[in-house]
Symmetry: C2
Subunit: 276 residues, 2 copies
Amino acid sequence: MNYDALCEQIKRKRSFLCVGLDTDITKIPSFLLKEEDPVFEFNKRIIDATAQYAVAYKPNIAFYEAHGVSGWKSLEKTINYINLIYEEIFVIADAKRGDIGNTSKMYARAFFEQLSCDAITVAPYMGKDSVSPFLEFSNKWVILLALTSNQSASDFQLLETKNDTKLYEDVLKKSLEWGNKNNLMYVVGATKADHLKEIRKLVPDHFLLIPGVGAQGGSLKEVAENGMNENCGLLVNSARSIIYADSSTDFDRMASKKANELQSEMAQLLRNHRIV
Amino acid sequence: MNYDALCEQIKRKRSFLCVGLDTDITKIPSFLLKEEDPVFEFNKRIIDATAQYAVAYKPNIAFYEAHGVSGWKSLEKTINYINLIYEEIFVIADAKRGDIGNTSKMYARAFFEQLSCDAITVAPYMGKDSVSPFLEFSNKWVILLALTSNQSASDFQLLETKNDTKLYEDVLKKSLEWGNKNNLMYVVGATKADHLKEIRKLVPDHFLLIPGVGAQGGSLKEVAENGMNENCGLLVNSARSIIYADSSTDFDRMASKKANELQSEMAQLLRNHRIV
């Protein structure tokens, strides 16, 4: 998917919601456990219930890999289902990969070709040649870790460098030499809303993927105030507060309600910023 | 596997060789393609041919993920085969993972429980809470990226910080608060032999995993001179120069010869340092 198509979807749905598919078999409604593939059945119902309010889904790859071959099957089925039924929706593999060139190329094939995702999250520690192989795929995206939402993000990301910047700012600046707003986004934790303004100065046009709204404590309003640009430029992820909102046989109805609530709030923010 | 068992194996085999299983189906001998699982058949023959000279195997997870479910099956079979037939051998998942706490825990389950690896490579960018979940497993290891062998490692790893150190040194120092020589190793590229001496001062007792000897240009002698400690403290990885040494039906005999050559050189270096 390209930049314009993503922006168009955001305007049409009046939403910049990404639903995180952090599907944990120990947390899904127990009646699903009798299904042949409970994880896929759960995802399918969550997707059907939320697709009208969401512009993106983000399967968290660890939750699938933890179940080996069967987990990978659930993941494949989930992504194929989204691509088949809701082809306008942006699919992000939250995989945090990154390795030397020939290895990153293999990861790119895994997630862009084998799984047909639109985007993958990538860790920057190994530098340009670990990121570039992902950028060579047309209409595919790297979402580079910049400033994450976890507490110990401060261990290194906020480290001051001799450039008189913090490490995550060096990551942003350097990466602008590798890609552009059409193939590169950044992960910025919502718990760091105070940093968002600074980040927007460095990357005014790029999309930012914002985890940490909801269960992790970030505020949507603050994120929009500090991070929204003229095309929205935000994808805000919510996982647990939507997918585990209810554990009855009607869990998907409650997930739909929660997604709708977030979408309504987002529609208002988009109106406030005259984007819709 | 614990520290002492690894040291004991190194002394017994007079080797600190790790064989990288970067198995690419387009590079393996073509006669294997008629097998049901060519990747596993290739790995099995490489393992049987090199196990007497190697103390560790390191499957590069990207090469398996690139084939989705079938790749994950080949990976599982490969690791199960090593654990069954050569249980004394150390198995490293070269996965470069790292995410927020609850997600890292899932990756730990994937590689330590589901796949029964001894160790996993982890990227440090997200800090302590992305690494700690891996350290909670008894007799399992984190191999943290410190200074990698790729050219653009310099983009961030060599960045000078206001602590008057380079970023990779901050990573080493900080991580010493999280783990110890019994559950934490470091990736240090052999192409950076000049940095090895400095690294040894910071982490005198820890094992270092050294990729980049052979195809990537590093020298084994230089690595030993600068990085060996009183228990060896090194695992040197070689992949392409062993596993793709030959493409005939006798490819495994040539792999064995190449592994033996490296092991002989290692035995001499271990004798020079009075470790054996």
